[in-house]
Amino acid sequence: MKKNISLNVNGEARDLCIPPNETLLDTLRTEMFLTGSKQGCDTGGCGCCTVLIDGESRYSCMTYTVTVGERNVTTIEGISEGETLDKLQQAFVDTGAVQCGYCTCGMIMSAKQLLSTNPNPSESEIRKGLSGNLCRCTGYHKIVEAVKVAAQSEVK
């Protein structure tokens, strides 16, 4: 039984008609063509699907779109301003934290929540803050460095 909903994504409201069992990840990718959030598993285990809902990181593969309501969804497509990258995005580019890139968007969204609640995290807080995001390529090493760089550039 499809439902008519209004979904706020990256500051824009979209009217959609979707079935109740559709996940937010599927809605973002197939209805709204926002392919930055990705499917790496089906069970909230890898973090590639991470988005922010009212600023809180969530596995969009485990969230039914109809339950989002009026809350604001932020995806990777919504965090840069025109051509200017978000500080985290820039830091990932500059430190070499991107290899295959499949985990990258989810990592950045998780890091975004981390820095918004803890602007100057220690290394172990960064690692713990990213524990819900898997990466197979980088060993997380430059990803952690990128988050540190982004945190410091905020402080300036």
């Binding site: 499917q39 089906d42 990777i76 991107v98 290899q99 690692r127 197979r136 390529c137 997380y140």
Partner: protein, 776 residues
């Protein structure tokens, strides 16, 4: 001496990094064609069975179902699915078919459905009614080899798919000469590649009736060849589109799986594009590292000189001996022939069929399975004999200039001893305490493990593809397009190729781009595997750039009124070497060549005097004749909790004889990523199956444990030794596989140094540590 430029050796950000941090449009998983249907496989619940009957009526009548395929609808010819050798190759075993009535492992594909949505396809697949006749199954090599074991294939004796041996020198004399003979058995396990982008493909038919396919794969031409073979088409009727990059391969996307041919057939049947993607649970049944058991016997003199080595390896190939038949060869050769210098060697390797899932390829390809054994045994021998493990390795190391035991040619550059010494100094090897010393429940230790003599390409293996080619063209703005079939699988190959081309041509690296490509418009390239990207593809793009530069200088010479051999280029400019003020920009040269130019003079319009008219292009297609040999030493420090058995890697120092670092950030990334895989391989990853049914027990990331950022050490120190090899572009050898070959032995040896507990089978779980400590 190779010419070095500013771009080679610098931390150029990956060319696709901005795309990837803003969404990553280029992944094959994003390919979305108009009218696309979705396919799903039905998989056998039984590990060994015959299909008796199939009824697709209920499935067919589900609304939204567009086509169904069963084994009766597809070819039954057998083949080797592996991309890196020709289909008719001698060395590969060809015992797999696309979809047959005989089931040899749980999860084998038995039907495929194309439907409007993935949910409908899945529902329909579940409605297909198949009657199976179950056959007795075997799930380990001992049972498969036992008398009376069910024969999994008709062509084998006792399920031995392959049995290879080699012998050099006189091992028996070598053992007789030894003061000590050591014998140990080591066992490695199945782990999954866990590439975050799953296997995915989209097949379509173009207006000319050709099959067109997008796929997350490591070999453009391999997919074309294998797909054409399975579909019974000439290769010219199959076009494979090169993705800008893929979301990880690690050796697990080096073969054709059922989804590529099935999606192509379904696409032809329905007249629509068909997408098939594996779920994560299906991924765990696909692309697992070959588990190998090794009985290793080594003879040494009291001073540590190795006098003889003998190894017997048994590999569990699973239901089909695909990679199982090739991994064993790499394992045997690299593991026991090329490792520490010793003329008296004997090896016996067998790949055994079982009803486990088919074992696949994964970084190192048999190398880590050998190094886990060899490097631990070195440690065990040194502990027994009171020798230093670093000095032992140096004593038995190959020497630069020495002839390679198997490849044509020499160790042109070889700095293994430097790797060992520099790494030892950096980790504080001299301060290592005796094994198991230290008070309190948390014990620390340092261990050493190595990649002794790997390869930089497949030149030495005559039955494997090993050639690469590229086209380059210059644009009127001075930029260069590089057309190559080589796929960036995540290591940053695209960027390295651009750096090499930029350095060779003398243009800024931002001005070099990898062009989009497919099998109709680029030269053949061997797969992106065997750590060959930088060395082999790099050499090809460098040669294409050199060819382009010849053209460039020919044209520029006419503009600078000199001879082409008088010229040099750098930073986007061509200039006369002896008078650099005599210069013209590459953009101007390219523009001049590419467009008719008429200048207005007092006598009226005058045609440009440049005699050359045409795009400045270059090409290459070449094959390395030798492979330069890299080596590595990995030092690892662990803390072991002797109450729980938990092991934490707290520091790593990795020293690698790399030839030349093209991109330091990229090179470090390979070490850091390799360590994550090694920590998983050694301590926690294990694709497990039910010992009675073969069903997968670890089918999601809750049950299959891959290291998160928390499990990684914060100190990973890379030492790159630049030996400047004459057989690599700008001196470069290879790197990536060594990053998974060196660490497992190092971690196991570190655990021993910390606790006195020796564990010889993977994964070294906390439980095994406690057992080895006698606490369980």
């Amino acid at each position: 001496m190779n010419k070095i430029s500013d771009t080679v050796g610098s931390r150029v950000p990956h060319h696709d990094a901005i795309d990837k941090v803003t969404g990553g449009r280029g992944f094959p998983v994003n390919v979305n064609l108009a009218g696309m249907l979705h396919g799903r496989l039905l998989r056998s619940p039984y590990a060994h069975a015959e299909i008796v009957s199939i009824n697709i009526e209920a499935a067919q009548s589900l609304p939204g179902v567009r086509a169904i395929l069963t084994p009766d609808d597809v070819t039954q010819k057998t083949y080797s699915p592996i991309y890196f050798m020709p289909t008719e190759g001698l060395a590969c075993i060809q015992d797999m078919s696309l979809m047959g009535r005989r089931i040899r492992h749980a999860g084998q594909a038995v039907a495929a459905v194309a439907a409007d949505t993935i949910e409908i396809a899945e529902q329909a697949a579940q409605l297909i009614d198949i009657e199976y006749k179950e056959l007795p199954a075997v799930f380990n090599v001992d049972d498969a080899l036992a008398d009376g074991a069910p024969a999994i294939h008709d062509y084998t004796n006792n399920n031995v798919a392959l049995n290879e041996t080699f012998e050099t020198g006189d091992p028996d004399a070598g053992f007789a000469e030894a003061d000590y003979v050591f014998e140990h058995t080591y066992e490695t396990s199945r782990i999954n590649i866990c590439s975050l982008e799953p296997h995915v493909c989209v097949s379509d038919v173009d207006p000319a009736g050709n099959v067109v396919i997008h796929s997350s794969m490591q070999h453009l031409y391999g997919l074309r060849e294998k797909l054409a073979f399975v579909l019974d088409l000439p290769v010219s009727k199959v076009k494979v589109i090169k993705p800008p990059y893929i979301g990880g391969g690690f050796g697990g996307k080096l073969d054709i799986t059922p989804i590529e041919p099935l999606s192509a057939i379904l696409s032809k049947m329905t007249g629509r594009p068909v997408r098939m993607v594996l779920s994560r649970a299906e991924e765990f049944m696909t692309s697992n590292k070959c588990p190998i058991k090794v009985e290793l016997k080594t003879g040494v003199k009291a001073d540590g000189t190795i006098t003889a080595r003998q190894a017997t390896s048994t590999l569990d190939a699973g239901g089909y001996a695909t990679h199982g038949s090739t991994v064993i060869m790499v394992h045997g050769l690299f593991g026991y022939c090329f490792t520490y210098s010793c003329e008296n060697r004997r090896w016996n390797g067998r790949s055994i069929h079982t009803n486990n899932v088919t074992s696949g390829g994964f970084r190192g390809y048999g190398g880590p399975q050998a190094s886990f054994a060899v490097e631990q045994q070195v440690d065990e021998m040194c502990n027994e004999l009171g020798l230093d493990p670093v000095e032992f390795r140096i004593k038995n190391s190959h020497r630069e200039g020495e002839k390679h035991p198997f490849f044509d040619g020499n160790f042109t550059t070889y700095r293994f001893d430097e790797c060992l010494r520099l790494g030892a100094e950096r980790i504080g090897w001299a301060d290592r305490k005796p094994a198991g010393s230290g008070v309190g429940p948390i014990k620390s230790g340092i261990g050493l493990g190595c990649a002794v003599a790997w390869t930089s390409n497949c030149a030495a293996q005559p039955d494997l593809y090993e050639h690469s080619g590229a086209f380059i063209k210059l644009n009127p703005d001075g930029s260069a397009d590089v057309c190559s079939a080589a796929i960036d699988i995540g290591c940053g190959q695209n960027t390295v190729f651009c750096q090499i081309v930029a350095a060779e041509l003398g243009i800024p690296v931002e001005q070099v781009r990898m062009a989009s490509a497919d099998t109709s418009n680029v030269p053949f390239d061997a797969p992106m595997h065997a750590s060959r990207g930088t060395n082999a593809v790099g050499a090809a793009v460098k040669a294409a750039a050199a060819d382009t530069k010849k053209q460039l200088f020919k044209v520029a010479a006419t503009m600078l009124d000199c001879k082409p051999e008088d010229l040099e280029s750098n930073d986007g400019q061509v200039f006369v070497t002896t008078s650099p003020e005599n210069t013209v920009s590459i953009a101007t040269v390219a523009a001049r060549a590419d467009s008719p130019l008429v200048t207005m003079t007092s006598e009226g319009p005058q045609k440009d005097s440049t005699p050359f008219r045409g795009t400045i292009i270059g090409s290459s297609s070449l094959s390395p004749t030798t492979s330069p040999i890299p080596a590595a030493a990995m030092y690892i420090k662990v803390d072991v909790n002797t109450d729980t058995g938990e092991v934490k890697v707290v520091k790593a120092v990795y020293a690698h004889d790399i030839g030349k670092v093209i991109n330091p950030a990229g090179a470090e990334g390979q070490v850091e990523g390799g360590l994550q895989q090694a920590i998983g391989y050694t301590l926690m990853e294990h694709t497990q199956f039910d010992s009675e049914t073969g069903a997968c027990l670890t089918s999601d990331f809750l049950d299959y444990k891959m290291a998160t950022a928390v499990e990684m050490p914060s100190e990973i120190d890379c030492i790159f030794i630049e030996s400047d090899d004459p057989d690599g572009p700008f001196g470069a050898k290879s790197l990536s596989e060594c990053c998974l070959i060196a660490p497992p032995g190092a971690i196991a040896n570190a655990i021993y140094n910390a606790t006195g507990a020796r564990v010889r089978d993977l994964p070294i779980t906390p439980e095994k540590v406690l057992r080895a400590l006698g606490k369980l």
